[in-house]
């Protein structure tokens, strides 16, 4: 017992050290001025995309509920946080907390009626709700309607990005690897059997939806406070599709997959920035190729976990 506990502890300390090292390294590179503006922007996009993909994967991949309204929750988070920081002179912390709260409340309000629907119907309903959020924002003069809000203070720094990304991943991974996570995944596998095994499926669908929406709100707040400007058009259904593509590319039901795909898509978009015409074509081609040769996504529903690493390490396959 004692040695096992000890090895677990060493492992935990090891993991924390790796994270701290990663954080410090990037922080050093930024403060030393070794990372120019272009790479900093991409690093920010990458973290935000990881948060979005991991949280959407909780809804689409683990719970099995096809949601196409993720950008809507991101918009709510972005606007809520900006209203706090810019218009009400609150701190960034308050802005982020309000963003998360507003997005999860919206997730709850939208989730309760729509999660009774299944498959295509749910997809269309969530798509519509995402669009409604955008159109409503477009018509509120207090937030400048379609022109959006400009001059947002740049408060999103590397520590915020890093912390938010790690927290998102930790919460989703810990949730999924618990009894609550198993209940959530059982809904994806067979909703009727799940309900008959004593699981209140509506409750857990709404729970996953609310948690997913909350992190989308977090991503929205980080986004708004980095890119200076937010306007409703940014959060159209095209943005939702972008996130969905990452999740599908990575493999529905794999957090590792969502992270890898989010990084990959961000880098690809950045690399092809100078060739806007080819970019969309290449993007489409990659998607088609993946869907033909690996329809389950890059990772399927597998995770790259400590156990897998250990197995590879010890050469046992």
């Amino acid at each position: 017992m004692q040695p096992i506990l000890k090895s677990k502890l060493t492992r935990f300390v090891g993991e924390v050290l790796v994270l701290v090292a990663l954080f410090t390294l990037v922080q050093y590179v930024i403060t030393a001025g070794l990372l120019d503006q272009y790479y900093q922007i991409n690093l920010t996009s990458m973290c935000i995309n990881i948060i979005l993909a991991v949280s959407l994967n909780l809804i689409n991949g683990f719970t099995g509920q096809l949601s196409l309204g993720h950008a809507g929750f991101m918009a709510i988070g972005a606007y809520a946080s900006v209203i706090m920081t810019q218009m009400m002179n609150q701190s960034f912390v308050v802005g982020i907390l309000v963003a998360c709260a507003a997005a999860s409340i919206a997730g709850f309000i939208i989730g309760v009626p729509t999660l009774r629907l299944k498959g295509d119907y749910l997809a269309i309903a969530t798509l519509a709700f995402g669009e409604i959020i955008r159109v409503v924002l477009q018509n509120i003069d207090a937030v400048n309607g379609p022109a959006g809000i400009v001059g947002i203070p740049k408060l999103t720094t590397w520590p915020w990005l890093f912390g938010a990304t790690i927290i998102t991943i930790l919460v989703v991974v810990n949730l999924i690897n618990s009894s609550y996570g198993r209940a959530i995944v059982s809904i994806r596998e067979d909703e009727i059997a799940s309900e008959l095994m004593g699981i209140n499926t509506t409750k857990y669908k709404v729970l996953a939806f609310v948690i997913g929406a909350m992190f989308a709100g977090l991503a929205g707040a980080l986004y708004a406070h980095y890119f200076y400007i937010i306007k409703p058009g940014t959060f159209s259904f095209l943005k939702s599709f972008d996130i969905l593509v990452m999740v599908v590319l990575g493999g529905l039901g794999s957090t590792t997959g969502a992270i890898i795909a989010a990084m990959f898509v961000t880098m690809l978009t950045a690399a092809l920035q100078s060739l806007p015409a080819i970019r969309m074509i290449l993007y489409a081609v990659i998607l088609i190729v993946v869907m033909i040769y690996r329809p389950q996504g890059l990772m399927g529903n597998k995770e790259l976990s400590r156990q897998t690493l250990d197995r590879i390490w010890s050469g046992r396959k």
């Binding site: 059982s186 596998e189 067979d190 009727i192 008959l196 095994m197 004593g198 699981i199």
Partner: protein, 255 residues
């Protein structure tokens, strides 16, 4: 006092009356069979009892409580578990996880405990795992705990489904054609297993089955359903010799 008593249960789909004035009772620790030709409404009765369908009228009293129309997860938590005619496992999950999911309704730690990985989480998980393994051992599936459920052979999938149902800790177990697709030898093994779990878990069992040797062999009482109505009820011997039943169903089985 009966464990379950059903009175005047009715259910129709559009113009079709699937279950008409269904009366039924199940005593503590009894093993009762429900038989009838295809389309007689047997599975509909199961779906009404477990809450998959809401009855049009009638009451289902279980442990002195009317459960008619309650949602399935509430009925499960009151102590009724079931298996399915066409196996419904959580296909892409491991054998162990399938059973663990059934233990979720009694989970001892909270949502925040699992996100923050508190000691309560580890303690609860350990307990769930130990419990799940206990059920897998009974059904000789513990060596296959890490296999993906859909990769198990048919007979083992059936056993896993029963193990999963038992893991919800029911007082009443409903088996929907447990011997479907089994050969005579496997059916015999299943008969012994059903007998054994009834005694060991102190269960009351309701069973739908087409395999007459199984029904006549293990059931203490039998209900016969035809066109949504009970046409006979009694001991296996009485059912075997009942004229209506022979006409409706057992025609070629009895000489």
């Amino acid at each position: 006092m009966s464990l379950m008593e059903i009175k005047n249960l009715n259910k129709s789909f559009g113009g079709l009356s699937a279950v008409i004035d269904f009366d039924f009772r199940l005593e503590q620790n009894e093993l009762v069979g429900l038989i009838g030709p295809n389309g007689a409404g047997k599975t509909t009765v199961f779906n009404l009892i477990t809450g998959v369908y809401k009855p049009d009228s009638g009451i289902i009293v279980f442990n002195n409580k009317n459960i008619a129309g309650l949602p399935p997860y509430v009925i499960c938590s009151l102590g009724i578990a079931r298996t399915f005619q066409n196996i419904r496992l959580f296909n892409n999950l491991t054998v162990l996880d399938n059973v663990k999911i059934a233990a979720h309704k009694d989970v001892s730690y909270g949502l925040f405990s699992s996100i923050l990985r508190t000691p309560a989480f580890f303690k609860g998980e350990k307990q769930i795992e130990a419990d799940a393994l206990k059920y897998l051992e009974i059904f000789k599936l513990d060596t296959k705990r890490h296999e993906i459920a859909k990769n198990l052979p048919y007979g083992e999938q059936r056993r896993l489904e029963i193990a999963r149902a038992l893991a919800t800790k029911p007082t009443m177990l409903i088996l929907d054609e447990p011997a479907a697709g089994m050969n005579p030898q496997e059916t015999k093994g299943l008969m012994n297993l059903i007998e054994w779990i009834r005694r060991d878990f102190n269960l009351s069992i309701l069973l739908i089955e087409h395999d007459m040797s199984l029904v006549m062999g293990v059931c203490e009482r039998i209900y016969v359903l035809d066109y949504g109505q009970i046409i006979a009820e009694g001991l296996p011997e009485e059912i075997r010799n009942n004229k209506d039943v022979i006409e409706a169903y057992l025609g070629e089985e009895v000489e």
